[in-house]
Amino acid sequence: MAMTEQRVSYTLDSSLETIDSAEEKATRIATELGFADDEIMQISMAVREAAVNAVLHGNAYAPDKKVTLAFERTATDLIITIKDQGKGMDLSRIPNPLAPENLLKTSGRGIFLMRSFMDVVEIRPTETGTGLKLIKHVHGPTAGGKEASQ
């Protein structure tokens, strides 16, 4: 684990435990940053889904591949990045889970849930796999002093 005042990052194994661990870290950090209860649930669930993607679909549980998870707090946002070392993701092949023909599919809702719960979701190929950036805007009195300046 590497840590600065505004940023914390972790290098994690490609295991089921990593998924639970990522969710727990997201819950703890979102709580510490003062997000509301429903926002904490949304952030932790989005991070869980991103971790599932990285471990299951990206690294395919490969023991020699790692997942990196980072949380960064700026004046206005909580920025979460999750990177895997997998073969990459073809977004064009991910069907719309709300389409009638896909409603009864048993998978394919992870990215949709991330997009539903976060303000920004960016998915990009990296040199070694796929990188997801999840952003939740900070509201309320902890938002970089916005309240105090008004």
Partner: protein
């Protein structure tokens, strides 16, 4: 908290009382095994009581869909009972609320089977 299930019979309907988390891994497997076991024993009227399920991820949602379609394909019916707000919200945003038969009291859930 991991997933736990307990089954009971009410007027020919199997109520599956679920508690904990239905997520990738153990929680999804327990739900899958429970429903398959019920169907293999001829119990085709199933109600999943989710009153004490506090968390479902996309894998858990997929498992609910799988339980629903597996039961239907075997000539049975699977209904959901007592959704928490979190689970209800998830089913709303994924449009699955329109797929599942969702009940909010056990007596009417049992009565609703043909």
């Amino acid at each position: 908290m991991s997933m736990k299930v307990a089954t009971r019979q009410v007027d020919g309907v199997t109520i599956v009382d679920c508690s904990g988390r239905i997520t990738l891994g153990e929680g999804s497997v327990i739900l899958r095994d429970t429903v398959r076991d019920l169907l293999s024993k001829g119990n085709k009227k199933i109600v999943l009581n989710l009153n004490d399920v506090n968390y479902i991820d996309s894998s858990g949602i997929g498992e609910l869909v799988s339980a629903f379609t597996t039961t239907k394909n075997q000539g049975g019916e699977l209904k959901l009972l007592n959704l928490t707000k979190k689970v209800n919200d998830l089913l709303q945003i994924t449009k699955l609320y329109t797929v599942f038969d969702v009940k909010d009291d056990e007596a009417s859930a049992v009565k609703s089977f043909k």
